[in-house]
Amino acid sequence: MIRDPASAARDPRTKAISGLARLVTEAPWTLTRHDRARAHDAELDDATILHVIMLSSFFGYLNRVADAVGIELDYDVMVRPPPPDPETPPLVRPSHDERPAPDQGPLTITMRPGAIEALAAWNDHVMERDAPLTRAQRLLISRVAADTVGDASLPPPEPSDHPIVALTETIALAPWRLGEAALAPLREAGMSDEAIFDAISVAAFANFASRLNVALAALQ
């Protein structure tokens, strides 16, 4: 069950919840109105579907920060989960044609009390600052992260060989490859620990925000 938590799902409701979390994590742009209809058939209402999508997107943020910073497991567990396999290929990114139009879908985060305010407070701190990263660097990271999940609400990134681009792609597409080596090019570029954490925080946030945008836009 630790290797495959979805195997714990036995009834239609838990199978539907687990299936939605998988789609959000692996390919949010592939969600369609049929997935919403199937979830309704499994007795998940729209508020529950929204909860799954927001929670899975957010947990993807926590996973990425945990891996990028290198925290250790501090809970007592009977069975340790298997270690990450760096040989696992990166997640697939959608082609240009697969990007859902960034229109309002049937579900919006305004349906969840407190969500807009909490997201705005988080976004303001991560995006609306001039240091350690510049605003231009924050925007670059956001566009790279948006591109990895097909979030058409942001324009594609300008080409750049700054190491924050490669780090953002690893955080977004292959978090199992994060480690000291993934941060080394940022250190070699003279970035401080605070600036490196800022880059991790922006990249993981942008990945989360774009994943949520895309999943909700794709459902329509």
Binding site: R22, L55, F58, F59, L73, R80, T88, W122, H125, W176
Partner: protein
């Protein structure tokens, strides 16, 4: 070992201390309290930025404090997501 210099509650001062104290005052089921008595690692992971820390966990509280998913269902979503991302957390 973490790749960046993280500061735990015991060594924290100033704004980080205040952020930790506010976090620890929140209701938290006992199973989420590490047996080492310190703060959970995912909170410590944000210790480099004491302003960011409460904003991230305000969002977390908004998603975890109320339905419609039950606690076990939220854990299923989180475990499914973590496993696919190959994260132990």
């Amino acid at each position: 070992m973490p790749y960046l210099p993280l500061v735990g509650f015991r060594e924290s001062t100033g704004a980080l201390r205040d952020a930790y104290e506010a976090m620890m005052a929140r209701p938290l089921p006992s199973v989420y309290r590490p047996s080492h008595g310190g703060e959970p690692g995912i909170i410590r992971a944000h210790s480099i930025d004491p302003v960011l820390l409460p904003r991230v966990f305000r969002f977390s509280g908004m998603l975890n404090g109320q339905g419609p998913l039950s606690w076990p269902e939220r854990e299923l979503v989180n475990a499914t997501t973590s496993r696919l991302n190959q994260c132990f957390y």
